[in-house]
């Protein structure tokens, strides 16, 4: 048995003048869990596509599987023969087929007019499911399953196709902590069976937890391969970004008057008896597991839903928000956790998105919206928030996650809010861009804005919040100063 499942050297890939990969090396031991790390656009996907035969690299590459001779490129047939499979983030499953049909899809597709032999498929699928040791009903329709279960179906599917090298693209991005643990256990199990796994993830903690080695790419260049033993999150993010992100915890700031106060807020089946206040310049962390009520509270503070009981006070005055317009008028801004569907109108221009919250102001004193005023507003905020934009008339979807989030911030800062609610502001944002976002947030706090930071990342809360409320089952479970506990303790408190 050879030691290496895959060895690739001198891999260079150019698209026109753009160099996506430059002289990258990557090797993968048999049965190893290996992490491919790097920021968005660093070349991770391109490398995967070279290895599964989708892309043809520049001449000079040497790629070999197991003990085969090295070749300058991988053909899709080679990739298949050596059992290379990629589970992309969107999973590429069929929502209207059953679990069994999805799992056995590749082996049955070869005979397109064969009868739908359901029993054979179910048997086969059941075997795979048992081998993986998970709970899945072969007869269930895929669209009825949770994302986590679908992920398992995708894994079963590649196992059915005899996968020996599996690439997993951001597999944990939409999983809860518990689901993530289950997935990581399965990954360990597969590796014990001699299957090599390449793990692509933004979440550095789990990378260090499950992987034996990590290969870092930066801007298409090979930074290095390192054992995870002795590697810290901080060191890894420095390698990925090339920046020394030294974020100081909060603690010495002084705060002003109370900007927002919540008294005994309750909403049926969502949250109960929530009371807190945030002063100007203060960053309040709001954390808890999915379904703990964190986003639901935020939606009520933003007027999208109405609480059954309790009061909200802005600058000491009770307010009654019937809708989001009332909340915006009172000085509340809400950066949604769902940037794709709620935070921005992705297909519309950067200018339009930036201006969408302040149409009334821009149109004053009539209803005439001057294109000049729109683009002036946009330019002003792009400059102020150091957003990388080539042309503000382009759709906002053309920007990277970090720059999109800056546009979301811009559109809310344009309303000149007193209270800024940030709901998972760094989802889908690179390590480097995350630091940039928090730099802006802390700067806003320093200028006297009251900030509510919702996050389930203990490190974010620990570093950036002055106070934290841990929610559980819709109630405030703990109210503490993060500086008084360690990050690990905080993490345990959130997940306990």
């Amino acid at each position: 048995m050879p030691d290496y499942a895959l060895r690739a050297q001198n891999v260079t890939q150019k698209f026109g003048a753009f160099v996506a990969l430059e002289d990258v090396s990557f090797d993968l031991k048999v049965g190893e869990v290996h992490c491919l790390a790097g920021e968005n656009g660093c070349g991770k996907s391109t490398l995967i596509k070279v290895i599964n035969g989708v892309n043809t690299p520049e001449p000079g590459a040497q790629i070999s599987f197991y003990d085969s001779a090295s070749a300058a490129r991988v053909s899709p047939t080679d990739a298949k023969r050596h059992g290379v499979h990629v589970i992309w983030q969107d999973l590429a499953l069929f929502p209207d087929l059953t679990v069994a049909e999805n799992i056995t899809f590749d082996s049955f597709i070869k005979a397109p007019f064969a009868s739908r032999d359901t029993a054979a498929k179910t048997d086969r699928a059941a075997q795979i499911i048992t081998r993986l040791g998970v709970k899945l009903d072969p007869h269930a329709k895929l669209s009825d399953l949770s994302i986590a279960k679908r992920q398992l179906v995708a894994i079963c599917r590649v196992l059915d196709a005899n996968a020996r090298i599996i690439f997993m693209d951001e597999p944990t991005a939409s999983l809860t902590r518990k689901e993530t643990q289950t997935l990581l256990d399965i990954v360990r199990k597969l590796s014990a069976d001699g299957i090599s796994i390449v793990f692509v993830s933004h979440r550095l903690a789990e990378v260090l937890d499950v992987c034996e080695r990590v290969t870092v790419l930066r801007d298409g260049a090979f930074v290095g391969s390192y054992p995870t033993e002795g590697m810290t999150q901080k060191k890894l993010s420095t390698l990925m970004t090339g920046l020394d992100l030294n974020e100081q915890p909060r603690g010495t700031e002084s705060f002003g008057e109370t900007a927002i106060e919540v008294r005994g807020l309750s909403c049926d089946a969502e949250y109960e008896d929530i009371s807190f206040s945030v002063r100007r310049g203060e960053i309040l962390g709001l954390t808890g597991l999915m379904g703990s009520g964190r986003t639901e509270i935020a939606l009520s503070l933003f007027g999208m839903t109405q609480a059954d009981e309790g009061a909200i006070l802005i600058d000491g005055k009770p307010v009654n928000f019937r809708n989001s317009r009332d909340a915006i008028a009172a000085g509340v801004a809400y950066v949604s956790e769902d940037r794709l569907n709620l935070g921005l109108v992705q297909s519309q221009s950067i200018i339009k998105n930036t201006a969408s919250t302040v149409l009334d102001d821009l149109a004053k004193p009539s209803f005439y919206l001057s294109p000049k005023r729109l683009s002036a507003l946009c330019t002003e905020w792009i400059t102020q928030l150091k957003t990388k934009v080539s042309d503000p008339r382009l759709p906002v979807s053309s920007l990277s996650g970090g720059n999109q989030q800056r546009i979301v911030l811009a559109k809310w800062l344009a309303t000149n809010p007193k209270v800024l609610i940030l709901d998972a502001p760094t989802v889908g944002v690179d390590v480097g861009a995350k630091a940039g976002i928090f730099e802006i947030v802390r700067d806003l706090a320093a200028k006297g804005m009251a900030i509510i930071l919702i996050s389930d990342e203990a490190s974010e809360i620990h570093t950036h919040a002055d106070r934290v409320l841990i929610l559980r089952g819709g109630k405030i479970h703990k109210d503490l100063k993060p500086a008084t506990v360690s990050e690990e303790t905080l993490e345990e408190m959130i997940n306990a």
Partner: protein, 322 residues
């Protein structure tokens, strides 16, 4: 082809394409039909175009808002009917006043019908196709019931001025259409409402989260659509000196075709008024040119459909495939 237009905005390409399309059709017919380039032909086109044109504008705004208004033609009929009823009942003797009052009655009726439809779309949350289909069938039945399937005719002679008169050599209906184009262009391009309509068309939820009153926008969208239909109904009344429910029914799908021909996004959010106006004129040129050559009217319809397909194919290289 992409390279050639590099640095051009999508809107500019659409408008250029529509102008090229118009020039091509004019040149084509000028070549094969020697008497095509005459004042008479253009005048007759300018009399025919406005009804379809106004109904197309009425279709265009809901499409940009991510919907559709299948009730435009029957709204126009009902509005014409309302105007004719008021005129015949109270104003037959009072010539001068009949015209502005008929105009106001038609447009207001359309506005009210449209706003009701808009309220259904906004507050009930039903799909625009369902709501407007219901409204369309309802209005048709209502109109046929009121007119017993016949027509109402006999307007005072002043209606001739609108229906058949000219100003500076250009037919009055054309002036009305051009004014409507100008107003729609202004609303869509330079007002809060137009801005919001584009945003709502792309993603109503994210628009709501930005603090835009999506429901109110939708009520206005269908209100405007209804008012434009009412205006078309008024023009029909003036031109034919009568109203018959079902008149202009065949325009319905043509209005949708014209919107897509001019680059309106079938999923909402994108589309411009100017390419739409230019595209409409081209369609009329094709119809009149063919008519002049003695070709069947049905051939013109086939040509319209063919052009939509052709334009879709030509547009494909400019659309990013995702």
């Amino acid at each position: 082809m992409r390279k050639l237009f590099q640095g051009w905005s999508g809107d500019r390409i659409e408008l250029t394409a529509m102008v090229a399309f118009l020039a091509l059709s004019v040149l084509c017919f000028a070549g094969i039909a020697p008497n095509f380039l005459s004042v008479g032909i253009f005048r007759s086109m300018a009399f025919q175009l406005p009804e379809l044109g106004l109904l197309t504008l009425a279709m265009f705004i809901p499409i940009i808002a991510g919907g559709l208004n299948l009730a435009v033609t029957f709204t126009a009929n009902i509005c014409g009917l309302a105007a004719a009823f008021i005129v015949q009942k109270f104003l037959l003797e009072n010539g001068g006043l009949a015209l502005p009052i008929a105009l106001i009655v038609a447009v207001l009726t359309g506005l009210v019908i449209g706003m009701l439809v808009g309220a259904m779309v906004a507050y009930v949350g039903a799909h625009p196709i369902l709501v407007t289909l219901g409204a369309m069938i309802f209005l048709r039945g209502l109109g046929e019931l009121l007119t017993r399937g016949g027509d109402i005719s006999g307007m005072p002679p002043v209606f001739e001025i609108i229906g058949h008169g000219t100003l500076f050599g250009v037919p009055i209906p054309m002036w009305i259409f051009l004014a409507a184009v100008a107003v729609c262009f202004y609303i869509m391009q330079f007002t809060k409402l137009g801005f919001s309509i584009h945003m709502v068309g792309s993603n109503p939820k994210a628009t709501l989260f930005s603090g835009i009153d999506v429901n109110r926008v939708l009520v206005w969208v269908y209100g405007l659509s209804g008012a434009l239909s009412g205006l078309a109904g008024f023009l029909m009344l003036a031109r034919f000196n009568s109203v018959r429910v079902g008149h202009g029914e065949s325009y319905l799908l043509i209005t949708i075709l014209a919107c897509f021909l001019a680059g309106a996004n079938p999923f909402g959010g994108f589309g411009r008024v100017l390419p739409l106006a230019v595209g409409l004129i081209s369609l009329q040129v094709i119809a009149s040119g063919m008519n002049l050559m003695g070709a069947s009217q049905h051939l013109a319809t086939a040509a319209w459909g063919g052009f939509l397909i052709l334009v879709m194919i030509l547009r494909a290289p400019f659309q990013s495939k995702t």
